[in-house]
């Protein structure tokens, strides 16, 4: 019944997506829903997986909106405040993103601010020491006090070793100099490495502004990384404070498959209604005061899938880990997921995929990474791929997933938290 309904709704699903064009060698895409604010994001394929020295991408991200040949750091801040805009930068394993959000009509100024970072950043040693590195260290400290974030970082290191395995955050005493950042930026800022995504702005206008402002971007060689390979392994790290955390995961190399999104949707114990219990196989098996989140991290050439188990006590986490491992294995077994459950999971996965591109951040990261990888796919094609999943294909994909070496991370009381062999994976 669910499948039948999905097909009748096709007409409603069709939605206009940003089209990509080339402006001065820079890929540009924009979408305009007529909202009163606009945003422009410059996405650079220079995330932490391209690190030439550990943490250089993190430092580069924090160097955003510092002094350029055009205006000083203070000038950028004060002028942006006068326009009432918000400037921000963010970092993932794949991308560095610089975003300007502003009222419609101020695009001239904000595109110029973004472009001057790309074309004429100074990367002075004193800005590095006085303003950039303290923030980098504070961000690293903040992330290290969060056991879940730590577990995910360690899981990446165990799963992919290099490239995607590199931590997003710079080590606290990274020894990064302004010359390192400059050298990394020189390759990161090459034209083919940049995508500009706009929301609430006319495509033609954005293309024109990009052509005007980004024309002096260099055409040097982009940063390189080796293709990701999944390894897996165990890591246990003692942590005195925070909740007890266990990550049980598996990974694959190659492009992300839709089956994993369905598996994540099937296992996720997050209920559809707050304070109620979901119908996921995990939801009923969890002891009180423990939580399990599904973690699905698709990258351009690999995927990390896992369950993040957290709880106040080691006993609770032990029980919850066993339940999580069992649910994961049951789902991967042949016939482990009933046809109705599969349909339910597919519907949930479709909603997650559609909802992800609905807000600004999700839209920018989805469209931006597609622009940079050169394989634009619409939401419709994602839906089609999810709709096509049959029980047999799902079982095949999930069983091959759990056959790979598991990635097991325990953060907290390492003597109390379970070991991988104790939870049966």
């Amino acid at each position: 019944m669910l499948a039948a309904r999905a097909t009748t709704r096709t007409v409603l699903r069709v939605r206009k997506f940003a089209t990509a064009v080339d402006a001065a060698g820079v890929k540009v895409a924009a979408i305009d829903h007529g909202q009163p604010t606009s945003s422009v994001t410059v996405l650079l394929k220079a995330g932490s997986r391209y690190d030439t020295k550990h943490g250089v991408a993190h430092v580069l991200k924090n160097f955003a909106f510092k002094s350029t040949n055009k205006r000083s750091a203070l000038g950028t801040v004060r002028e942006a405040e006068l326009y009432g805009g918000v400037l921000s930068s963010s970092l993932t394993r794949e991308h560095v993103a610089l975003t300007a959000e502003f009222l419609r009509g101020d695009e001239q100024f904000f595109v110029d601010v973004l472009a001057s970072y790309i074309t004429s950043s100074k990367f002075t040693p004193w800005e590095l020491n006085e303003t950039v590195l303290p923030v980098v260290e504070a961000e690293t400290h903040a992330a290290q006090s969060d056991n879940a974030a730590r577990a995910i970082e360690l899981a990446h290191a165990a799963a992919f070793r290099k490239g995607l395995g590199f931590s997003v955050l710079a080590p606290t005493h990274s020894g990064i100099t302004s010359d390192d950042v400059q050298a990394f930026a020189a390759s990161a800022f090459s034209r083919g490495n940049i995508a500009v995504v706009g929301t609430g702005i006319d495509q033609g206008l954005l293309t024109k502004l990009v052509e005007q402002n980004f024309s002096s971007a260099t055409a040097s060689s982009a940063p390189t990384t080796s293709p990701s390979k999944y390894f897996g392994g165990d890591t246990r790290v003692a942590s005195q404070d925070g909740v007890q955390t266990v990550f049980i995961g598996f990974g694959t190399s190659g492009a992300p498959s839709p089956e994993l999104a369905v598996l994540a949707a099937h296992l996720s114990p997050k209920p559809a209604l707050k304070w109620s219990k979901g119908t996921s196989p995990l939801a009923t098996a969890l002891p009180p005061q423990t939580s399990v989140q599904t973690v699905l991290l698709p990258y351009s050439d690999a995927t990390l899938f896992g369950l993040l188990v957290q709880g106040a006590t080691v006993e609770g986490v032990r029980e919850a880990s066993k339940a999580a491992a069992k649910a994961l294995k049951d789902a991967a077994a042949t016939g482990g997921v009933k046809a109705d459950d599969l349909k339910k999971a597919i519907a949930k996965a479709k909603f997650t995929a559609a909802n992800a591109v609905e807000d600004r951040d999700g839209f920018i990261s989805t469209v931006g990474s597609q622009l940079l990888s050169g394989s634009p796919s619409s939401l419709d094609s994602v839906f089609t791929a999810l709709d096509k999943i049959e029980s047999a294909a799902f079982a095949k994909a999930t069983s091959s997933l759990v056959k790979s070496t598991p990635t097991f991370v325990a953060v907290g009381d390492i003597y109390g938290l379970p070991h991988r062999d104790e939870i049966g994976i």
Partner: protein
């Protein structure tokens, strides 16, 4: 830099003199002679070591020196204070040569002063609505 404002570098006619070629040609030997008899080179110091450092802007400029230059500056001060204690100049071969007497700190001070001036400008800016 406004020469009538009390900056860390003090008033200077040097930029005006440098602008006129003939005046520069006349003044330069005089300046060199003055720098040599001023005596700081004989104590192993450079001209920029004499800039008063008890001001926030100069302190900030000093903090921006590369590690090697900051170390060398400290070493020159030790040497000079030793010379001062024993009431002697350095042996002649250890005097700072005119070509080594570079303005290593001035560019950093100018940078800091420029930043301070810009901050003042932004703090007192009058915004006009268009």
């Amino acid at each position: 830099m406004n020469i009538f404002k009390a900056g860390p570098l003090g008033p200077s006619l040097a930029p005006r003199i440098r602008r006129s070629k003939s005046l520069f040609r006349w003044i330069k030997p005089l300046a060199e002679w003055y720098a040599n008899i001023a005596g700081y080179r004989q104590m192993g110091l450079r001209y920029d070591d004499l800039i008063v450092e008890e001001r926030p802007d100069v302190k900030k400029a000093i903090s921006r020196l590369p590690a090697k230059e900051a170390y060398d500056r400290e070493y020159r001060f030790r040497l000079a204070s030793q010379c001062s204690i024993v009431h002697k100049s350095l042996p002649k071969e250890q005097w700072v040569k005119p070509e080594d007497d570079v303005r290593y700190l001035t560019p950093h001070i100018e940078e800091v002063v420029k930043e301070d001036q810009e901050r003042e400008k932004w703090d007192t800016i009058a915004v006009e609505r268009k």
